[in-house]
């Protein structure tokens, strides 16, 4: 991982700190389960999702809404998990 990738990843990790515990729990599970490197496309998708308002993001990740942009479906599916915290 080069410095540029490290910074991008760290920024994404920080942007995964949310106002809602629900999202913190989902994002922590994601970061704990992910391999070291996100590819560029995944990083871009995650950036789009993390730019959303917390409640709107929660609507997506809880399955109440589907992403308006079908390109985000893959990342949304990765973040969604069944119950079992």
């Amino acid at each position: 991982m080069n410095e540029q990738q490290r910074i991008r990843r760290e920024r994404l990790r920080w942007h995964s700190r949310r106002a809602l515990l629900e999202l913190d729990l989902v994002m922590r599970r994601f970061w704990q389960s992910q391999p070291e490197l996100l590819d560029d496309l995944q990083a871009e998708q995650l950036e789009c999702l993390l730019a959303m308002e917390d409640h709107d993001l929660w609507e997506l990740l809880s399955g109440r809404q589907e992403p308006a942009d079908p390109a985000l479906q893959g990342m949304v599916a990765l973040l969604r998990q069944p119950a079992g915290f």
Binding site: I7, R17, L21
Partner: protein, 595 residues
């Protein structure tokens, strides 16, 4: 390490509800105001506040601020300062209407007035029956509030510094506060915000507990900075455990669920709150409900294979009511408990939720400390508001919907006090002392050079587990005593945390280590204060404080009707008296708190 100095009239740390409300006051007065925040303002934890904001508008039925004041004093188990409580309850209508004028989309009645719903502990006519006092915007009250106030700040030219971590308070030899040091996360560069007024609005520190409804950002940064700078922390033994956190996850089920008719049941399906609070039932004060739930569990009437939770039942409510009034609850139950709340009850347990104590202030938002002349001497240039502060309006236990009210009233009040101070006696900035940055530079140097140190993650878990086990919702003398020793051991590990990644730019590991420095101050303050208070009061419930006629529910007014003040140096405790005299009305006299 280079420290760049920037000058402002005021620096506010934290951009949640209290910080944004204070900033409006300062910026609209034409003062140059900086707001520092770890996260984008509308991602502050205020977003999570669902239930509403209390105000005796009386839109649905008769109400009065004096009744609200009575409920708040009673809820506080008489530890709240009655001058501050009167101030807050009287100001409630004003700050709610102001918020409406900022564009806050409150739910409305058919006649166009703000819709109000009942909430635990809020009663009419001095405790007679529940009253509809909570003003809400569906279940997004906090979120809507932050947006309305953020926009207002943008209009007023408040300068936001987003993704900046405040590190330490700057005080001079006279004890005056002259600003804060801070780190820009994007670059890792250090700055000093040199200001005439410094306002802390950093929220609570609920992450000191293992099971918490708080988001991960709630690391008590203001309390930690204040403690390191010699400011005591007040009443830190009082933590509210929300009765209804989803078992196993901590995610909060708002009290509004019970406001709309949700019922707590034990393993026999019994509505057990009828036995504990015959009048208020499921809408009794949070600690009363938490205590009842834990008693049910301890006496073998819990649910599930381990009988370690109770059930929150809304299956009798019309699905359209649930989806309209409580739209998020269905998904939370599904995601974190795996149940369809329309058809099955939700497993819940009491979970750490809110910090009643904090940085001591008066009702003007000015930070006060004991001094030679009085027990409440003002610290020049320093203000605090919201969950990080202790005004003290919540005393030993906060009523639901009084937190959003607290941050509006005291955010505004702190801002107003700072404006008044600067306008009435204009002075240039005091000179920064030569050692202004020393504490910060020492902390960073230690962290950057630590060898064979402790893991930040493991140490944080140790702290959280210690707090959960030794200072949870029910407290025991021997566990508290051991807890003091254990948390001091954990503190030693915090002093030798090590980060592997020493890079400068966007180093989240460094941020987390610095946050832990703040959390541990709060954890130690909590454990030491809790061990010392040998009574039960509000949310501080000790097994060894028996219920007797002289000491109802274990509350000992003769010896313990006083605020704790914990000082970091030598883990020292002092006490100060509770202000029982309100501003204009008669004292609400001590009596047993029963619902």
């Amino acid at each position: 390490m280079k420290v760049t100095v920037r000058k402002f009239d005021a620096v506010i740390v934290g951009a949640g509800g209290a910080g944004l409300r204070a900033a409006i006051q300062l910026s609209e007065a034409g003062l140059k105001t900086a707001v520092l925040s770890k996260v984008f303002p509308t991602r502050s934890h205020t977003v999570a506040a669902q239930g509403g904001v209390a105000a005796s508008l009386g839109n649905s039925e008769e109400d009065h601020w004096h009744w609200h004041m009575y409920d708040t004093v009673k809820g506080s188990d008489w530890l709240g300062d009655q001058d501050a409580i009167e101030f807050m309850c009287k100001k409630a209508n004003e700050v709610v209407i102001e918020l409406e004028h900022y564009g806050m989309p409150f739910d409305r009645l058919d006649n166009g007035r703000i819709y109000q719903r009942p909430f635990g502990g809020h009663m009419s006519n001095f405790g007679e029956k529940p009253v509809r006092r909570s003003c809400a915007a569906a279940d997004r009250t906090g979120h809507a509030m932050l947006h309305a106030m953020y926009q207002r700040n943008v209009k007023a030219n408040t300068q936001f510094f987003v993704e900046w971590l405040a590190l330490d308070l700057i005080r001079d030899a006279e004890g005056d506060v002259l600003g804060v040091t801070a780190m820009e996360m994007e670059t890792g560069d250090l700055y000093a915000f040199h200001a005439k007024a410094t306002i802390f609005a950093t929220g609570g520190a609920g992450r000191i507990y293992y099971s918490s409804t708080n988001a991960f950002i709630n690391t008590g940064d203001g309390a930690g900075m204040a403690a390191r700078a010699g400011i005591p922390l007040e009443d830190m033994e009082f933590w509210q455990f929300h009765p209804t956190g989803v078992a196993g996850a901590g995610v909060l089920i708002t009290e509004g669920v019970r406001g709309e008719g949700g019922i707590l049941r034990n393993s026999a399906g019994e509505r057990f709150m009828e036995r504990y609070a015959p009048n208020a039932k499921d809408l009794a004060s949070r600690d009363v409900v938490s205590r009842a739930m834990v008693t049910e569990i301890n006496e073998g009437r819990g649910c599930g294979p381990n009988k370690d939770f109770v059930l929150l039942d809304i299956t009798h409510l019309p699905p359209e009511t649930i989806m309209k009034r409580l739209p998020g609850i269905h998904e939370i139950a599904l995601q974190f408990a795996g149940v369809d709340a329309l058809r099955e009850p939700i497993p819940v347990v009491p979970t750490c939720h809110y910090q009643m104590g904090g940085i001591p202030t008066n009702f003007k938002g000015q930070v006060v400390v004991p001094g030679k002349r009085s027990q409440n001497e003002i610290v020049p240039g320093f203000y605090a508001a919201g969950e990080c502060a202790c005004a003290s309006v919540h005393g030993a236990n906060r009523l639901g919907t009084n937190s959003l009210l607290d941050l509006l009233v005291f955010g505004k009040s702190a801002g107003e006090s700072a404006v008044d101070e600067m306008k009435q006696s204009p002075k240039p900035h005091k000179e920064l002392p030569a050692d202004a940055f020393d504490r910060t530079l020492e902390r960073l140097h230690r962290l950057n050079t630590q060898k064979d140190g402790a893991s930040v993650h493991e140490t944080q878990l140790d702290m959280q587990r210690t707090m959960q086990k030794h200072a949870g919702v029910f407290r025991f003398a021997d566990l508290l005593k051991q807890g003091v020793q254990k948390i001091i051991e954990v503190q030693k590990d915090v002093e030798r945390t090590e980060i592997k990644d020493k890079s400068k730019v966007f180093n989240t590991a460094r941020v987390e280590a610095l946050e832990l420095d703040n959390l541990i101050e709060v954890a130690v303050a909590t454990m030491v204060s809790a061990e010392a208070r040998k009574e039960s009061r509000g949310a501080h419930v000790r097994d060894d404080a028996p219920d007797t006629p002289e000491r109802p529910d274990g509350r000992d007014d003769v010896n313990w009707l006083k605020h704790s003040l914990w000082f970091k140096d030598a883990n020292r405790l002092e006490y100060k008296s509770v202000t029982l005299r309100p501003l204009t009305v008669e004292t609400i006299a001590l009596k047993k708190r029963a619902y």
